[in-house]
Structures are given as structure tokens and as C-alpha cells.
Symmetry: none
Subunit: 457 residues, 2 copies
Amino acid sequence: MKESMIEFMKVREKLDKEKEFHMESLFKLIRQPSISAQNRGVLECADLLVTMMKDAGIDTKILDTEGYPVVYGEVLHPDNKLTVLFYGHYDVQPPEPLELWKSDPFEPTIHDGKIYGRGTGDNKGQLIAHVLAVKSLLDLYGKLPINVKFLFEGEEEKGSINLAPFIENHKELLAADIAYTADGPMEGKDQPSVTLGNRGLLYIELKAQGAIKDNHSGNKGNIAPNPAMDLINLIRTMVDDKGRVLIKDFYNDILTPTEEELNHIRTLPFDPEATAQVIGMHKMDIPAEEYYKKLCLSPTFNIAGFGSGYTGEGTKTIIPSEAKVKIDMRLAADQDPDLIFQNILEHVEHFNSASTITLDYLGGVKPSRTPMHLDIVQKVIRAVEISHNKLPVVLPALGGTGPMYVFTDILKIPSLTVPYANVDEDNHAPNENIGIKEYLNGIQTTCVAILHLGEQI
Amino acid sequence: MKESMIEFMKVREKLDKEKEFHMESLFKLIRQPSISAQNRGVLECADLLVTMMKDAGIDTKILDTEGYPVVYGEVLHPDNKLTVLFYGHYDVQPPEPLELWKSDPFEPTIHDGKIYGRGTGDNKGQLIAHVLAVKSLLDLYGKLPINVKFLFEGEEEKGSINLAPFIENHKELLAADIAYTADGPMEGKDQPSVTLGNRGLLYIELKAQGAIKDNHSGNKGNIAPNPAMDLINLIRTMVDDKGRVLIKDFYNDILTPTEEELNHIRTLPFDPEATAQVIGMHKMDIPAEEYYKKLCLSPTFNIAGFGSGYTGEGTKTIIPSEAKVKIDMRLAADQDPDLIFQNILEHVEHFNSASTITLDYLGGVKPSRTPMHLDIVQKVIRAVEISHNKLPVVLPALGGTGPMYVFTDILKIPSLTVPYANVDEDNHAPNENIGIKEYLNGIQTTCVAILHLGEQI
């Protein structure tokens, strides 16, 4: 233990000396726009990243996909050691609305201890942290105690549309013991966190077509079909009034939480008042356990939009000709969006109504969950604790959706996410930023994780 | 009989000469928007109507109400003769959605033998027909054989909210033997009709407020309330999946149809194919008796609009902060809208949901029904037959709503409706129209009715 503390001090000293370089490296990356949704600068950014990774001593190449390329790198140990696969993305969100930025989104600007710029938090700052950590360790030791691989994609902000087939086609190259992602914000100010999965997503739209035009609700009332009512009648066959989904086999594949997971959830920090305020509710009455079960371990059946007929001021007495509802379901591990979609399709086909109902598939992502008790997972959690000198909050899954299933489902390896960005990083929004302290801590955390997995710390 | 045929020919000849003027009169009225729900142009339209009625030789004045004024006119016979009270409304529905109109809704446009424009059918074309008929008869004879009175309101499309108190306060002025309304479409192509009542109306809006802002459906899914789902859950307690209303006492006051009425209904013409086409449905499977029972003698529970969250293209992953639904119920005689509203209020107050639900009363009109066997009713039916040279279809009640209860309930006189507009007038919808032939026939029918009630034809 004493020896490992000495190693840790050595690493801190080294990183301290390279602060300027670490800042400048991120600045360089931010100055190169890479907006996948707008096809702006993405390939140039891939080239820049390759150069920076090669400069760091990483064996790097560009690998094609059907869309923007993957930047792949590796530093392999001569012996057959443990392998960590670092995942990140070098594309960024569009910067619009530009008028809300306090500085140029592509000219990194320091203000109040934070670096502002598009991509600082999501995901360039967190991605380059891994690269710079490896560079520093190679400088310090001449080698790494484990194998590291880097998978940096250029289409995450477009929904990682080509990631799954790429991974299918490169299983051997990407073989690893764990996937490690730094993305998203930490759980609170100075509160490190580790998440072991994500909910999946199935997004559908149901449309009901009644008569081919709106009809007078008096002259045709009780005669023309009402598509809004038909959709409501369909929805009442899909979900009961307690929110329980009635689609065949919907709950079949959901992992039952282990006693250990439930015990763990009960220990998680939960401030109902602060949470209610963030959401915009008057109050929140549920206990921590129920909160985390609902958010991390249970699926949703959410109406994201419902539109039919006249919704302006006052009255309009019509029978609308059509109605549509958008429903997004967050899926708990191991629900399968394709299977559920098929069952919904069947359900809708068996539903009788005067209106003609159509079902559209608007998107699907599988959920992902990695068991908490795995040794390698516990090791990373410990490394985060060492680097921050504070116990991280460990969440079984994020409420939101990410592409982590590509690791757990396709590569069949554990996957975890260690956010390096501050809680107010404003990703996807104007004035995106990363705290300088958080950014530098991120580099240190990757160093500690590599050394701890390599049993050097 | 021969003499009356000569009179009829005289009238036809006179009307034939004035076609151009009759068209131009309607055009003038259409060009003046009068959208009571949007407070647009209503007073200007009242002024225009007064001028046109005075020009027609009618003693006309504006009478105030708590809302938009009544335009009242009269042509009284020196002797104490029978009095007909013509009712109509000079306000129109909002023209939206504008993009579906093939021509400017407020610039009357002739196409395929029809005049297109907001209000052509509902109700400016049918209202001005009475005025122009009286003008022609006065031109022709210098006087009328009976008393006529005109009651034209400006708030029918808002539910005639100030009509009942107005009539309460002007019982003497409005005293008459029968109320005569031309509104709504005829029963079929070239098929005149007379209706002896109307369904009533109760129009409500339910709003559900969840969090004070939209939330991310992943990070907050299952935690923030979903107001759209809460409204759907409320609606499922208000109406079952067969359309039967579950509000307390909803069906209690409905008149049981007499054997005579049911026998009459069975003789009514019904062309399911043509009806389906008018409505814009592929087919219609119900028999005549059921059709008329549903349309004339039964209430509705219609969703006129439902709005919540994102309804544009593609996906947006939000939990909406609010939802609203507009529901209009057509009421069968003798349902009471006020009583039903009270019961809905109680129902909503007893409904539990995470969202805050509010109920707004947007309008209510009592239903009305006049017995078919009355002499004066039979006389008007005969006048319609003479004008069209065809037996009219006589309906016990219209599916739609008019304020006819003010005549039957407050003035205690029989009330009937003789629609002048074509069956495909598309009232309340884009491309509202009135057939030129139907419009001119309408003017003729008012002439014949006045002469027949005055025993001149």
C-alpha cells in the first residue's frame, strides 16, 4: 500500500508538470469542428486525432464504416495481459443557437475555472483524457502494465448508426476484458460516479386515420369515426391505468434485480427536494429505493406527443380526421426493442377500430447492464475512489440511453461509464464547458485505472 | 290551386331577374370576416348586415347583448297576422387550417357551380336568403301577407352564449307563432329536409399540468408525471371502450322516442354509400334506423382536439409538461348541459393523478324537439315541398346544435329548421361552400313559406 502511494505521487507530479500541454491538446481538438449532423469537419478531426494519438505513442489507424470512420488505437503489452477498451466519440453536437454562446464555440475560452467550447465536455475533453493519460504513463514508465485499445467513433451524435455493424466486423481486433467510457456529467459537484449500464429505447408512432377529412361533430357525431378516441382505446389496451404495460411478453426479459443490487440501491444518495426542483415538480414523495428502481431498473411507456384535431384557443366542433401519438419506451436490461416492436405490431394488427391504425418504428437501442460484483468492475470503482479520494456513486444503469449494448451484447464484455465532466457541463446546449479541475482529474483517473488494473497502484 | 301556381311563377320570374344581385349580396357578406372565436370583424359584419337589411326594406336595429350584438329586423303587417321569426347567425368558424383551402376563405370564389368561402353555407348564405326573399316579395307586392321578424346573432359559433338571456329579456318583441331557421346541409343531393329539433351541446376542455417544464424522457422517465397519460386515464373513467359515457346520470333525462317517431324514422331515406362518401369513409355498415337513432336521438362524446408534447417529424424524447383535450358532447332531448357539467366537475374532482387537472366550461346549449303533428309545422313542410317540387325528409332532430331551445323552452313556440345548403357544404372545414342552385333555391323557399303561411300560395 505504501509503495502504491508512492506510484500515485509520481503520477501526480508528472501530470502536474504537463498541465499546459494537456490544456493545449484539448484546445487543438476543440478548434477543429466535427459536427456529424452537419457534415462539417468530421474527417479533418479524425485525422487530427490520429496525429495526436500517434504523438502519444499509440499505434493508431483509421478504419472505415458506412459513415464517418472509427479512429482505432492500441498499446499492447508483450505478455498476454488484461485489456481495457476505451470508447469515446470525436464528433460533436451542432453549436446552434449561436447567439446564446458567450464565446466562439470553436475557440476554447477559459472563464471561472472552466474551458468553454463545443465538445469540451461531450466528448473531446473526456476522450483525449485517455490519450494524454497513456502518453504520460509511457513517458514515465516506457510501457503500460496492461493492454489498452481505443475505439473513437465519429457518429455518436447521430445515434451511433454504424457502430454495431462495425463492432460485429471487428470482434477480434476489439477483444477486451472491459469497455471503459468517460462521457456525460458526474452525479453532483465533486461527486464521482460509475454507471454500469443504460436503459434501451424503443420509439414508435401510432397514427389513426378516420374519415379522409375533418367532419362536423354535430352533423356527423356518432357516425364518423373519431381517430383520437380510437388511439386512446388502443392505448388503454397497451397500458393499464396504473402504467403497467399490457403488450404481450413486455416484462418477460427484464432482469430481476439481485438482493445485492437492491441493497446497494438503498444506500444511494437521494435528495427528493433537489430532484423535484430539477424536474420542476412541487414535491417528490418516493423513497430512494423506489426512485432508483423506477429510473434504472424499470422500463417506461412514455407519451412524448399526442396530436389530433383543434388545440387552439376556444372551441372548434369537429371530429378530427386523424390522430397520432409518439411513444418512447426506455427499456430495462434485457428487454429487446425488436422483439417488443414485433409484439406491438401484432397487438395493433389485432386491435379493431373504425379508424385505420398504422404503426411506425422510429428508433430502437438495446439496454445494457454489467453486474456490479465482477472483480474488474470493483477494481475500476476502486481506481476512481483512489483518484478522487472519495467513494464514487455506483449506479446500476443510467435512466437515459447509450450504445453500451455493443460491448455487453456483441463483444460480451462488461462495460462501465465513468463521467469526467462537471455536473453543469451543458452538453448539447450553448456554452458547453468542462471544468479545468475536472478535466485534469479525468486524465489522472485514467492513469490510476490503468495502473490499478495493472496492479501497480 | 291554379291561382297559387300563378303566384309561384311570378315569384320565380322575379327571383330569376335578381340572381346577380343575390350573388353579389352574399359575396359582400363573405368578404367581411366575422370570427367570433377570434374576435375578428364581428361588429363590422353586424353593421354591414344592418345596412343590407335596411336596403331590403326591413325595419332593422342593433340590440346589445353581453357579447356580440343581435341584429333584429321586422316587417309587420297592419292586421294581427301570423308571425314567423327567422333565426340565423352572422358569425363564422375560424378558417384554420388555412393551408388546406384552395382559395382565400374570405374572397368568395366560384368553382364547379359552388361558391367557396368561410360562412357561405354556415350561415351567411342561408341567413341572407331570408333577407333577400323579403326584399323580393316587398318589391313584388309592396307588403307581406304575414308578420316576419329576424333574429340574427353573432355568437352561434361560440355556443350562442348570450342568446338565452337576450330572449328572456325580449319575449314581447320576439313573440311569434313559429321560429324558422335555415342552417346546416340538406339531407342528400337535391333532397330538401325539415328538422324539428336539435341536439344540445356541452363543450369542455380538460388540462393536465405535470412538471413545470418538459423533461428528458430518459433521465426522468418514470419519475416526472406524464400529463397526456393522466388525461387518457381520466378519459377512460369518463367513457368506456364502446363509447358509453360513464359520467353519473348522463343518460337519465333522455326522452324515450315515441312509437310514432320510431315508425317515422324507419321510413326515412338512407343511402349508406352516399353518406359514407360525404363523410369521407370507405363504407358504412349500419341500417337506417340505427343511423337516425345515433344521429338524432342519442348523445355523443367527441374528442375535438388533443394536444401534448412533440407532434412534429421524427423523434423528440421528452416527457411533456402539459396536455389538453377538448371534448364536445351533443346532447339528446332533454339532457341538461348544466347538470351534466356539474357531474363532470364532481367526477374530475374525484379523479386522482400525479398531474394537476383543471376543467373548463367552454359552452353549453340545451337540446330542443318540436312535435311533428302541429298544423303550422305541417304547413311549412308543405311550403318546402312546393318550392322544391319534392317531399322533404322530416327529421325529429338534427345531429348538430342550434339554439332552438330558446324558442321551444323560453318563447314556448314550435321551432323548425329548413336547411338550404348542399349536403357537401363542408361547414366548419376548409373549402366551405354553398351550391349556387341551392343558394338561389333557398331564397325561393323563404318566399314560398311566407306566401304559403299567408295563404297566398
